[in-house]
C-alpha cells in the first residue's frame, strides 16, 4: 500500500521530550498523548496535522528517553510515516515494534520542504516528492524487521509464534 501526505519538517536531534513532553506521561492513553504530539517543537502541530501526513526531520530523530509514548503519539495523531536522516536507536526499534513506518534517508531529509506533497511507495524503499518531482531512496530494512512490520508489530509477530508453537 502506498502512502500519501503533506510534509511537516523538523530540525536535527528532535528528542522524545519534544515529541511528547514527560509532563503528559502520567497516562498511557494514546488519544491523550496524541493531543500533545510535537507541541513543544510546533504548538500548532497536534491541531493541524491531517491523517496520512508525513514527518520529515534531520539526524537523530527521537533521541532521549525510551518512551514508547513518542511513536505512539505520532501514530495516533494520524501521521503515516516518519522520514529522517537518521533515528535514535530506541525510537527506531519502538517504531517497528508498534508498527509505525519509518524511513531513513539523508537525501530526503535534506531536500524536502514543509508542505511538500509526498508519496511513499509500497515496501517503504522509495519516497516520491510530488511537489518537486523528485525521488529519494530509503535505507533497506533487514528481512527480520520487515517480518515484524508485516505482522503489524512485535506483538503480532509473537502472537503468531505462540500460536504456531501450539
Amino acid at each position: 500500500m502506498s502512502m500519501r501526505g503533506k510534509a511537516w519538517t523538523f530540525k536535527d536531534d528532535i528528542d522524545t521530550d519534544a515529541i511528547i513532553p514527560a509532563r503528559y506521561l502520567n497516562t498511557s492513553d494514546p488519544e491523550s498523548l496524541a493531543r500533545h504530539c510535537m507541541e513543544d517543537a510546533d504548538p500548532s502541530f497536534p491541531e493541524k496535522v491531517r491523517p496520512g501526513d508525513i514527518i520529515v526531520a534531520g539526524k537523530n530523530f527521537g533521541c532521549g528517553s525510551s518512551r514508547e509514548h513518542a511513536p505512539l503519539a505520532i501514530k495516533t495523531c494520524g501521521v503515516g510515516a516518519v522520514v529522517a536522516a537518521s533515528f535514535a536507536r530506541i525510537f527506531y526499534r519502538n517504531a517497528f515494534n508498534i508498527g509505525l513506518a519509518i524511513l531513513e534517508s539523508p537525501e530526503a531529509a535534506k531536500r524536502i520542504r514543509a508542505g511538500d506533497e509526498l508519496e511513499i511507495a509500497p515496501g517503504g524503499g522509495l519516497i516520491r516528492n510530488l511537489t518537486r518531482g523528485e525521488e529519494y531512496a530509503a535505507t533497506a530494512i533487514p528481512p527480520f524487521m520487515a517480518e515484524i512490520l508485516a505482522a503489524g508489530g512485535l506483538i503480532g509477530y509473537l502472537q503468531k509464534k505462540v500460536k504456531d508453537d501450539g
Partner: protein, 421 residues
Amino acid sequence: MGMTITEKILAAHAGRDRVSPGELIEARVDLALGNDITAPIAIAEFEKIGVKEVFDRHRIALVPDHFTPNKDIRSAEQVKTMRQFAQRHEITHYFEVGRMGIEHCLLPQEGLVLPGELIIGADSHTCTYGALGAFATGVGSTDLGAAMATGEIWLRVPETIKIVIRGTGWKRWVSGKDLILYVIGKIGVDGALYRALEFTGEAVEALSMEGRLTMANMAIEAGAKNGIFAPDDKTEAYVKERARRPYRLYCSDEGARYSEVYEFDVGDIEPQVAFPHLPENARPVGEAGAVQIDQAVIGSCTNGRIEDLRAAAAVLKNKKVHPGVRLIVIPGTQEIYLQALKEGLVEIFIEAGAAVSTPTCGPCLGGHMGVLARGERAVSTTNRNFAGRMGHPQSEIYLSGPAVAAASAISGRLAGPEEVL
C-alpha cells in the same frame, strides 16, 4: 578475530561461539526492568501475546520511581496497574515507596545486575549497568512486554567505539560526570549512534564504581546502544557481597575490532557544564560566563549516589544556599538516604538551606518536586537538558557534576567549587 566484551556477552546469550557487528540475534535476557511510566504499556502488550505466565518471576524488576510518591491521580493509577501485575505474577523484585530507589541506583545496589549479564530495561538509562561489565540497553515498552513473556529480545549486534582516557593528572573536583560530559562534548549526541561505547584507560580504571555508573549512565546521551567497562577488582569488590546469582567476567580480546578509537587525557579535563539544550554543549565551568540560576538539583540516576552526595556536602559545609536559589537534593535510594543521614550529609544540606527529598526521579523529567517556570534556569546533576525536560519549554537546564551544582547553588550563578571554597 578477537571479540569485544559487548560481542562476547551477546554471543553467550544467543548460544553462539561468536557474533559480528550488524547481525540480528535473539538473545536470552537475565533481567528485564520496567518503571511506572513504561510498565503499564508493557503489561498491556504482555497481555495481548497470549501467554499466561511471565518467563521468570525472579528476573523481572518493577520500580515505581518517576512520579512517585504518586504525584496525582493518573500517576497513582499507573503505579496501581504495575503493583497489581507484580502481585498477580508474584514478581519478587517489585519495590514499593519507602523501600525503593531510582531504578538505576537501586538495581546495582541490590545485586540484581551483574557482570557478564544481558539486561534490558524499558528505560533509556538502563545502559548504566554497563559500569559492572554487563551488556545493558534501553528498549521500549513493547520490547519489555515481549521479554516478560519470552525471556528473549531481538538485538542487532553493535559495532564498538573505544574511548580511552589516559593519564593521572586529575584536576581537583573532576568526577566521572565531568569525563562523560567532556566525551559527549567531543563526539556529539549522535557520535555513538547504534554502537557500543567501551571505556578504558588509566583514568577510567581509577574511577570508583559510582563514577563508572555515572559515565555508563550517559552513554545513551551519545546515542549509544550500551556503554561498558571491563570488570576489575573494584567491580568484584562491589558485586561480591551483593550478588545472589553466579556471574561471569568478560574482557575484550587484544585483537578485538573497533569502529573508532578516541583518546583523551584526563589532565585536559576540567569540571564541565553542558549548556542548553543538548548534553553535547559541554564546556569548562571556568568558561561559563555569568549565568544566573534559579534552581539547583542534586540527584538522579546519574548523580544520586553516596559519593555524589559527599562531593556536594564537601562544598556546602558551613555555607548557605544563595537567597535566589532553590537547592533540591534527592538521594538515589533509601539505603543511600540512610547512609547520608548517618554521615551527617543531610544535616549539612538542610543547614545550608536545601530541600532534601525521598528518592524519586521527580524534577529530572519535569514530573514533580521542582518543575521550572517559564524563563527559569537550573543547574542539575541529571543527564538531559532538552528544552522542556524540567518544566516549561522556555526554561533552561545546565548539566554538571555535584560539586559544580553545589557551588552554583551557593553563588547564585554557574560556578566551580574553587570559587566558593
